[in-house]
């Protein structure tokens, strides 16, 4: 076994530790970050573990610097990551746009807490779902994943890095105050097995321009130090990477940046369908909250209510097909005033109900049950 690698086996970890270890298993060797509750333990774990593997860890002066550093590192070929919480994402959103525009693969973890502002730093929130997609400038698509258990927090990191590299796009990796600090027992397979599943970014063919896309709309990525004289800019640019400040160039580039993700949305969608086949009411949920929802659905089934759960693991691009395919009523359970409710409503042809809580705690299974009783009457 290579130096610094984990042994296969069971570990008792928090979500923060699982996110860090999952990233390392997925090939991440560069981390820049700034501490913020409830994500700080990710930085602590990375500070401990990355040097053991010869990787790089740096604590920057703020979140703006952190994301700038990982974009720089990404251009050298690193699988690079940062972690923060909602207020930190606000600071990162400026350069998230740069990562989108220059098509730099990065992973940004957001351990969501109660918000707005400093809100409830140590407690769960799910108010950054829209921020994850729409926080930066302009029209763009990115990938947002959101696990629901500590095991999944570890496992899904491989997908996060693979999507980032495959589509040259930033990936927002949502966890929440509950997952971040909760400990569960998880199984770590042999790291070599995980490494076999690593997807590497495409490399340009001889003579291929730095922003010349292949048929999949993704341009292979040149790296710093290869003598390719890369030029990358946040300005609207042509396929050489040179600024081209015309409506035509804007139309071409921004369309492609959106379509390179939407074209592959079925590859990116990960959704858990729990007892939905015969369901008359489906609760849409995600993250820490979904754990209670599942229990609530089970309680409802015991009462003969035909309930099911759709757990969105991919939040963005929104897995709309999973909404469209059911004719059941929907309940959207989320810890905010109602965000994904609107997305579900956009695609559902049946009634959609809100089950919201402003954050700080998840719904109890009884609260979910109560809502299901109401809706199914």
């Amino acid at each position: 076994m290579k130096k610094g690698y984990l042994k296969e086996g069971n570990y008792f970890w928090s979500g923060d530790i699982a996110a860090a270890e999952g990233a390392i298993a997925a090939g991440c060797r560069f981390y820049a970050g700034y501490p913020i509750t409830p994500s700080s333990e990710i930085a602590e774990r990375m500070a401990l573990r990355l040097p053991q593997l010869g990787g790089k860890f740096i604590e920057m002066e703020d979140e703006i610097g952190s994301i700038a550093a990982i974009i720089g590192a990404s251009w050298t070929g690193e699988r690079a990551m940062t972690a923060t919480s909602g207020p930190g994402v606000s600071l990162m959103n400026e350069n998230l746009g740069l990562a989108v525009m220059t098509e730099a693969p990065i992973v940004v973890v957001n351990a969501m807490r109660g918000a707005p502002s400093t809100g409830l730093p140590t407690l769960i929130g799910q108010g950054d779902l829209m921020q994850a997609h729409y926080g930066s400038q302009g029209s763009y698509e990115l990938v947002t994943l959101y696990p629901s258990t500590i095991q999944e927090t570890f496992d899904l990191m491989l997908h996060a890095f693979n999507f980032a590299e495959k589509y040259r796009v930033p990936v927002m990796y949502l966890i929440d105050g509950l997952l971040a600090h909760m400990y569960e027992s998880i199984y770590v397979p042999p790291i070599e097995e995980i490494e076999k599943k690593i997807v590497h970014r495409k490399r340009p063919k001889e003579g291929q321009l730095p922003y010349e896309p292949d048929e999949d709309l993704v341009p292979p990525m040149p790296l710093i130090g290869e003598g390719r004289n890369i030029h990358a800019t946040g300005l609207t640019h042509d396929e050489r990477g040179y600024p081209d400040l015309t409506p035509q160039a804007q139309e071409k580039l921004v369309r492609r940046l959106n379509e390179k993700i939407l074209k592959h949305e079925r590859d990116i969608w990960i959704v858990e369908e729990y007892m939905t086949e015969d369901a008359e009411t489906i609760v849409v949920s995600f993250g820490g909250e979904a754990r209670a929802v599942k229990a609530g659905v089970d309680l409802a089934r015991k009462e003969g209510i035909k309930a099911g759960m759709l757990r969105l693991i991919t939040i963005w691009p929104f897995p709309w097909e999973y909404i469209k395919k059911y004719t059941a009523d929907f309940v959207v359970a989320e810890l905010n005033y109602g965000q994904m409710y609107h997305k579900v409503k956009e695609y559902a042809e049946t009634p959609v109900h809100k089950l919201t809580k402003m954050g700080g705690e998840i719904h109890t299974p009884q609260e979910v049950l109560k809502k299901l009783r109401e809706v199914s009457q």
């Binding site: 130096k3 550093a69 974009i71 720089g72 590192a73 003598g227």
Partner: protein
């Protein structure tokens, strides 16, 4: 071929000549600084494949678009942390941040002080033209007190940064200041800095005739150059007060601090890796 002609040819190779003429106004000093920088790079025999230029936003931020090496035009103020990521990931590369005073010291001020404190192995070429040129000549963190800009129509009540002194206070191993009039000294200082390690700062007082000079009775490119010529004093051991820039006052220039063997962040992190791996 004379060494000058050889240099000239190599300089053309280091430029994205298909993008010339560049965006800078007639008489803008940024081109003079870029000219000096490229000559210093050639004299140092730096492999262009190992050279990375990172710029922020603004007039000087456009520099990255003209150098024919791996070059990045990043976001406003963020050139230093972006460059930090590149250097930290690939310590074998020569990473140069080429940006303006507003970018580096106002919006990017926090990054500047912290990267300087950590002593990252970066060369910072800071072009100081006393103003925000790209946005139309607003006052910035280096505008002298009393100067007229579009946002200080009654004279600047604000106080400018004393950039070399700021850098010295942060332990920066190489701190120099020249004006665009000092083409040879400037080139030599960049040449010297390229041969050193750690965080190196070269501040260049540069002319912006279009939006700064025009409002401060130096309308033509040459009148700004004349100001630099007549008012510059070379004084390497200058005091804090002497390094301060005042409205139409003296400009103290020189190499204010030259220190070798201060370990860089990248070197200190190598020790971290060694310690972490021995404990395994």
């Amino acid at each position: 071929m004379s060494i000058f002609e050889d240099m000239r040819n190599k300089q053309e190779e280091l430029l994205r000549t298909e993008r010339l003429p560049h965006v800078w106004c007639p008489g803008c000093g940024i081109g003079i600084v870029l000219n000096a920088f490229l000559r210093a790079v050639i004299r140092r025999k730096i492999d262009p494949e190992k050279l990375v230029v990172v710029s922020g936003i603004g007039c000087t931020g456009r520099t990255a678009g003209y150098v024919n090496v791996d070059s990045f035009h990043t976001t406003h103020g963020r050139a230093i942390p972006f460059a930090t990521g590149i250097k930290f990931a690939r310590p074998d590369l020569n990473v140069v941040v080429f940006s303006g005073d507003g970018d580096l010291f106002a919006i990017g001020g926090n990054h500047f002080v912290n990267a300087a404190r950590r002593n990252h192995d970066l060369l910072i070429i800071a072009v100081n033209n006393f103003t925000y040129g790209m946005t139309g000549g607003q006052h910035g963190p280096t505008t002298p007190t009393g100067a007229y800009t579009t946002t200080t129509p009654y004279g600047n009540p604000d106080r400018p940064f004393n950039i070399p002194h700021l850098a010295i206070s942060l332990g920066v191993p190489f701190v120099a200041r020249w004006t665009t009039y000092h083409v040879n000294q400037l080139q030599n200082s960049i040449y010297k800095a390229l041969g050193m390690k750690g965080f190196r700062l070269v501040e260049i007082i540069s002319q912006c005739p279009t939006v700064y000079g025009r409002r401060n009775s130096m309308k033509s490119p040459l009148s700004m150059m004349e100001y630099f010529q007549k008012n510059s004093i070379i004084k390497p051991n200058a005091s804090f007060e002497e390094m301060e820039l005042t409205y139409n006052g003296k400009i103290v220039v020189g190499e204010f601090r030259v220190r070798t063997n201060i370990p860089t962040y990248e070197e200190r992190f190598d020790d971290v890796i060694r310690r972490a791996q021995n404990e395994n």
